[in-house]
Symmetry: none
Subunit: 412 residues, 2 copies
């Protein structure tokens, strides 16, 4: 099966946004062994979108379009498809009802323009959009198929999961390509590479390292019959894990905070957090995980020294003697958060994210992280330097703190 | 002048890398008033790259290609161009000498394969590459021109600066295109469009709406002489602002939290935050802004009812009577955070982000936001529905709270 991607949007051709949807779809199709031979990008112009569809139907079995599906007059994708395949637009009552229900759930009155989105090519199958207004569309054209998705990434991804993935699963047979990503924290890319060097040179499965901010990914890719690729991936994963130990925190899309939150839930441990320089980054990430109210008792963002003393009981004398960014204070913050909330574990961060506030003794990028628990009480001093900038320093600080929590739980 | 971009590389169609080169080139061309009507992406396949060049020459005056220029057998771009325009490849001694010098500077022996890159279409002008091996190429085809650049971004950008930009400057002279984005919070896309409808239909400047999660963007694009486009953008911005009022929070890359933090800093107001369902999202966003320690005194993440009572002084009776997700409790959280920290403004959020925890009376997606200050004390009840999912519900809740804070400060 040959596929072609069409991204619609003048903003793409002006360089105003990056086409991450195409990357997402390309990866997905690759994982099902579907060849993508061409991708086209066209602006919000009826004739050029029509032309792109005509061209794609000359060379692909499967055409996947994103963008140009909204309620505004710029949004021409559906009309262009109807013209390209010479099919009338019909008013679909189920889509109109879905649009009305969407606005009713939000207690808002739908403007009339929204119902433009109920006009779809005759013979089209609708994928209802629970995250926004524009539905996904499946348009059969003889033996070929056109999928149309809105350009808003989280809406597109939801509709792909509900409409495109089942369709691909039903149609792809023979050899498949499957990937699995091993996610690693606490080790740098070169250390990871050195530990797994001889496994990286295999032809099938292949293993490719990728450095991310605060973590390293190893992508394993295997090609084979559907019944065999799973075992090929399992075997390589086991070989990599044997060399990397508990530095591997997760698989595929599992984030470090997700893996850590799951440990807290499974072990029925409770947590209190005190975050100064990260100001809620750790707490907001751990609570992305459903069920986090089972473990998080309280968080504190003691941005001022007064708050550190008042809310966490950090002794004022300690702050005066060592400063807010110090091993002594971060340990007192972790112990204080744990004590105030009555939690099993206290986690604390303090540091200098910059760009100002650094001194020769305590430069921008200096961060202290502490954990306080019956199993382990520990302080780490981290030096990220000022180079990465405020946002990355904060992210790295949060990442390191979450990993310290994860390792504490694993080794309880 | 009409331009077309062609990105060459199988890795692009597999989704292994994101095509940032195309974004860079699209922005550059837009700033010189060159229309990009199409972009093609093709894999490393001689026939398909050739086909892409033939198609581009049917519809563009200027074709800009990136990728497929290296020393390996996969690198077919130059050969494909020669086939497309029916011109022989010739061995260029100046390119070969440049390649030899590149390796000599690095004290390495060039592999023989490198000299493949010295074969270029007859009649081609060479842009020497000081950052890598593959040179940039300018291939005149009658009145049309093909530029060919390597795919490595910093090499491409260097060669563009040395070869493409002078070429564009010499040919465009007259008109330039400039864009400005107006960022709007608190109004949905369709309401925004209805308010500014008659301004959207202008030919120059154009105004294009774009819906984001929790905000709407209006992109104004003006085309004209370099001395005039600024005033054209200013005039349209003023007309849009007259219809949208203080729903416009920023321009171009300015985030909602950045605009709000700047108001706090400028007005020398202090803030205390209590976040239950967003658990630090608001605090971590506001503190992305350098200098945020001037306004944020303390944040609280009272994830349990006990913490709401203990840390914020929410009356236990209020929790018992109305539940943690209620207008009464969110108002008490905002007032409590303000009182405990001694801040000018207290901001609070409580809600049900899901996926579980909803009831018929209090469904997933129900969020209460409150502000407490001398200027304004207000509670808002929001219904996002369960459709968007936990992560988007939390983001929308944080976005709404930050916007409420912004409007309070603006109308102080």
């Amino acid at each position: 099966m040959r596929a072609e991607l069409i991204s619609v949007g003048t903003e793409l051709l002006l360089g105003q946004i990056t086409d991450t949807n195409a990357v997402y779809l390309a990866r997905l199709l690759a994982s099902y062994g579907v060849d993508v031979l061409h991708k086209q990008t066209v602006g919000d112009n009826l004739d050029r979108v029509r032309g792109a569809v005509v061209l794609a139907l000359q060379r692909a079995d499967l055409v996947i379009m994103t963008g140009g599906l909204g309620p505004t007059e710029d949004d021409l994708t559906v009309e262009a498809v109807a013209l390209a395949i010479d099919r009338p637009l019909v008013y679909d009552q189920s889509v109109a009802d879905g649009l009305a229900a969407f606005f009713e759930r939000r207690r808002r009155t739908p403007p009339a323009s929204v119902f433009r989105q109920a006009r779809i090519p005759a013979g089209t199958q609708v994928i209802p959009n629970r995250r926004g207004t524009a539905p996904g569309l499946i348009v059969p054209v003889g033996d070929q198929t056109i999928f149309i998705f809105p350009g808003v990434p989280h809406e597109m991804e939801g509709l792909v999961a509900e409409g495109l993935i089942p369709w691909l699963q039903a149609r792809t047979g023979g050899d498949v390509i499957r990937s699995r990503v091993l996610r690693i924290a606490g080790l740098g890319e070169s250390v990871v590479e050195e530990r797994v060097r001889e496994l990286i040179h295999g032809a099938n499965p292949t293993v490719a390292p990728l450095a991310k901010t605060g973590e390293v990914h190893l992508r394993i890719t295997a090609k084979g019959p559907p019944g065999a690729v799973g075992a090929m991936l399992d075997e390589m994963e086991a070989a990599l894990r044997a060399r990397l130990g508990d530095a591997v925190f997760g698989i595929d899309d599992e984030a470090l905070h997700t893996a850590t939150a799951r440990l807290l839930i499974d072990q029925r441990k409770t947590l209190a957090i005190a975050e100064s320089c990260t100001a809620g980054l750790v707490a907001s990430r751990l609570t992305e995980v459903p069920g986090s109210s089972a473990f998080l008792l309280a968080g504190f963002i003691p941005y001022s020294n007064e708050a550190k003393v008042r809310d966490l009981g950090v002794p004022a004398a300690l702050l005066a003697a060592h400063g807010a960014v110090s091993a002594e204070v971060v340990a007192a913050m972790a112990a204080g958060a744990r004590r105030v909330a009555g939690a099993d574990v206290g986690l604390a961060i303090t540091g200098i994210a910059g760009p100002s506030g650094g001194t020769p003794a305590k430069p921008v990028g200096l961060v202290f992280v502490a954990i306080d628990s019956d199993a382990r009480t520990r302080t780490e001093e981290l030096h990220f330097g000022e180079g990465p900038g405020r946002s990355v320093i904060r992210h790295l600080a949060a990442q390191t703190a979450i990993n310290l929590l994860r390792l504490t739980l694993l080794r309880w």
